[in-house]
């Protein structure tokens, strides 16, 4: 309190002069000094307080500036409402204009048991494709949930996929359960709107009903290596083709698959794999006609085994796919079925006094190879070749002379279908695509279906992430 002492000293000096002043005067002066001293002290204290307050305020200002910045940073990171927990929602719109030289409604693949899936070409003229609504979010730290509903153009909602997936299993394991596209092959796991052609390869139509989705569980393991090594096993009800609804306890279908993949320099990426699918269909039926053209129902019970080999190679200069890129993709399918076939014309011609059963086995195969080239931003052109090999079918009903002859099984007429497809597509952004596709489809014996499709695919909402 240097200032206070100074003032006191100054005041003392000023009044100390007249030594002979009277006592009363002196006392008065003392009192005055005392008063002044007190007043100054109070004012000084008030000033000090104000100074302290001002200092505190300025410090606060600095801190609040820092806080504001942090708040601004965090405010821009998360919306502060309940809806912040809304899952990612996206919608796919698609449709076609189709011209086909053959009737699409009677489409079937000669030589191959009908797979019962959505394998027909799109309806002629303008037609709406499936509208897909996808909802996905992390459920909690342990699970993620995905549901994809397909709204059929004729009405009705189908569940394309609806599954949970683990996020927290250790050591590279991922468990998936519910309804999901099987991990076998390459294209099977991709959604239709991500395909490079309007329709699936013939091998997918013949062996998997277009695409194998199943109700069950999948366990996948990723090896801790720099090369991708992925092994998976699936258990399912097996009620989708090549299986059938068995109404039985236990597992109806199972598959195992393995994929490996990596890079070759910065410009190439590849993946290849092998898959095996086993199902045990029970009374898996398909409609056919007898030699007189009258409807017949055939049923197969037994074992179906399918092997798939897949490979894909992608090229992009330095791994930058925005200007040009190329994709070469192929899959080979081989199916073996053993069991019992039942021929039932009792609802129609009824020539044999009821259903006729005999041993049945088949060995059939098929493959496709396709290349898609993006030759400039937004534009891609592609070609696909499809082939199915009839190989062998031993139909005990015919060979053992149980009644029906080969002419009563027109679907199983020995024939190896082929198809050539070209496409050109234009994608103004990654959310929209228009495709022009021409095909010469020889799926049906003696008939060539010349097809022309114009297709649109639009994606709204959450930014989707597409698989490799």
């Amino acid at each position: 309190m240097f200032t206070r002492n100074l003032i006191a000293a100054a005041v003392a000096l000023a009044f100390a002069g007249p030594a002979l002043a009277q006592d009363a005067e002196l006392a008065k002066i003392r009192a005055e000094i005392e008063q002044m001293k007190r007043a100054y002290e109070q004012r000084i204290q008030a000033l000090e307080k104000r100074l302290e307050e001002a200092e505190a305020k300025s410090g606060k200002a600095e801190r609040s500036a820092a806080n504001a910045e942090a708040a601004a940073a965090s405010a821009s990171n998360r919306p502060a409402s309940e809806s912040a927990f809304n899952p990612a929602i996206s919608l796919i719109l698609q449709g076609t204009y189709a011209n086909t030289s053959q009737e699409p409604n009677t489409y079937q693949i000669t030589g191959f048991v009908p797979s019962g899936g959505e394998v027909r070409p799109p309806k002629r003229s303008f037609g709406l494709g499936e509208t897909e609504l996808a909802i996905a979010a992390n459920i909690d730290p342990y699970f993620r949930g995905v549901a994809i509903a397909s709204l059929a153009p004729e009405g009705g909602v189908g569940v394309e996929e609806a599954y949970f997936q683990t996020l927290a299993l250790p050591r590279g394991f991922v468990l998936k359960g519910g309804r999901f596209f099987s991990g076998i092959g390459y294209q099977n796991e991709q959604h239709q709107h991500a395909w490079d052609f309007q329709d699936p390869p013939l091998a997918y139509k013949a062996f998997l009903g277009g695409q194998l989705k199943q109700d069950g569980v999948q366990l996948k393991w990723i090896a801790p290596t720099d090369l991708l090594v992925e092994l998976g096993v699936e258990l399912s009800a097996g009620d989708q083709f090549p299986g059938s609804d068995r109404n039985k306890n236990g597992v109806g279908g199972s598959s195992i698959f393995g994929h490996i993949g990596g890079d070759i320099g910065p410009s190439y990426a590849w993946r290849t794999g092998l898959s095996y699918l086993k199902s045990s269909p029970l009374d898996r039926s398909y409609e056919d006609t007898d030699s007189g053209g009258v409807a017949v129902t055939n049923k197969f019970t037994g074992n179906s085994r399918l092997w798939v080999a897949d490979a894909i190679l992608k090229w992009a200069p330095n791994g930058n796919s925005t200007v040009t890129n190329f994709k070469l993709q192929g899959e080979y399918f081989r199916r073996k079925e053993d069991g019992q076939l039942t021929y039932d014309d009792s609802a129609g011609s009824n020539l044999f006094g009821g259903p006729v059963s005999g041993a049945y086995d088949s060995r059939q195969s098929g493959w496709y190879l396709q290349g898609v080239y993006q030759f400039m931003p937004r534009w891609r052109a592609g070609y696909r070749y499809d082939r199915l090999n009839f190989d062998t079918i031993n139909n005990g009903i015919v060979s053992n002379g149980l009644g029906p002859t080969a002419a009563d099984f027109p679907v199983l007429t020995p024939y190896s279908p082929t198809r050539d497809t070209v496409m050109l597509d234009w994608s103004p952004t990654e959310f929209s695509r228009l495709r022009f596709q021409l095909a010469s489809d020889k799926s049906r014996i003696g008939l060539t279906d010349n097809q022309f499709f114009l297709q649109y695919i639009y994606s709204l909402g959450a930014h989707g992430a597409h698989k490799f």
């Binding site: 590279g172 720099d226 991708l228 952004t429 930014h463 597409h466």
Partner: protein
């Protein structure tokens, strides 16, 4: 000596000859974060960089090699702000690695630690491929690097606590050098203040904001859409009234549009490294900034 003992000695000698297993496996989505992780992690971190400077970070595929690398990552360092939305979620769901899931310490998004520019008022794809959280290309402001470095160092120390002191010491040294470099860059960059430029994509906003460069146009008609001739013609006529000093693109952009405009507007086309590895000179974060400034300053001379 028995045969098995010899075998064991040979095996242990072989094992000893192997490079020591790094404590921390870092998966960096982009080269700049790979470079930063190397600066802070030194030889205690093994850094894998998922993309290179010639790749467009918006359009990366979840390639098999990336899934395999994501599987063993302890820490994933990405830009965030939805830059990697087209591929990162797949790596998270496909790799079977609980450490890198959203919200885990092993998931680090750099954009969360800085104030983002260009946060859109209108989130609608009519505006092109907008990022709802703001511009995610945050690494060309040195102050952002400073903030991210501090946060990343904390994260590395949290995950690999045994080496916390090591990371903190390296980070302190890095920040010291970095702050000195900023002083130099800001001194050198003075002539760039107010210089009008055309950019290819809005990926240089933080750089422009820092150095005071004036962005007068973009080659892309909307963010993320490839340049079109009609848009470029519009831009050209606009430059007639309000001229720019240069047309600037990043190493990963297709050069065609920038060259087209450069030839017609009579202004130089400048290619910036954009990130580490974008040019031969940009080998780390320091040289990335050095080279970026040198290339821009060449225009003002």
């Amino acid at each position: 000596m028995t045969k098995s003992l010899k075998c064991m000695i040979a095996l242990s000698a072989w094992l000893a000859a192997q490079p020591a297993l790094a404590a921390l496996n870092v998966f960096a989505c982009e080269p700049e974060w790979g470079a930063l992780a190397k600066e802070l992690g030194g030889d205690k971190a093994s850094v894998y960089v998922a993309t290179n400077a010639l790749q467009d970070p918006h359009h990366i595929e979840a390639r098999p090699s990336l899934i395999a690398r994501a599987r063993s990552a302890d820490l994933m360092v990405c830009s965030g702000a939805e830059l990697e939305i087209g591929w990162l979620p797949l790596l998270q769901t496909q790799s079977g690695n609980p450490k890198i899931q959203t919200g885990q310490p092993g998931n680090f998004e750099a954009a969360n630690y800085v104030v983002k520019l260009e946060v859109p008022r209108l989130v609608d794809r009519v505006q092109g491929d907008v990022h709802p959280g703001g511009n995610p290309h945050i690494h060309l402001s040195p102050y952002n690097i400073e903030k991210v470095a501090t946060a990343l160092a904390e994260r590395m120390a949290q995950i690999d606590s045994g080496e916390a002191g090591y990371y903190q010491a390296r980070t302190k040294a890095f920040l010291e050098r970095w702050r000195q470099a900023i002083v130099k860059w800001e001194k050198d960059g003075v002539p760039l203040k107010g210089v009008p430029i055309v950019v290819h994509h809005k990926d240089l906003s933080y750089l422009n904001n820092w150095l005071g460069l004036r962005e007068v146009g973009e080659l892309e008609p909307k963010p993320g859409l490839p340049p079109t001739t009609s848009h470029l013609s519009d831009l050209l006529s606009r430059l007639g009234r309000d001229p720019a000093k240069a047309v600037v693109r990043s190493a990963y952009n297709d050069p065609q549009a920038a060259e087209w405009l450069s030839a017609r507007a009579g202004i130089p086309a400048v290619m910036l490294p954009f990130t580490v590895g974008g040019t031969d000179k940009a080998t780390d974060l320091f040289s990335l900034y050095d080279d970026t400034l040198a290339r821009l300053l060449a225009v003002t001379k």
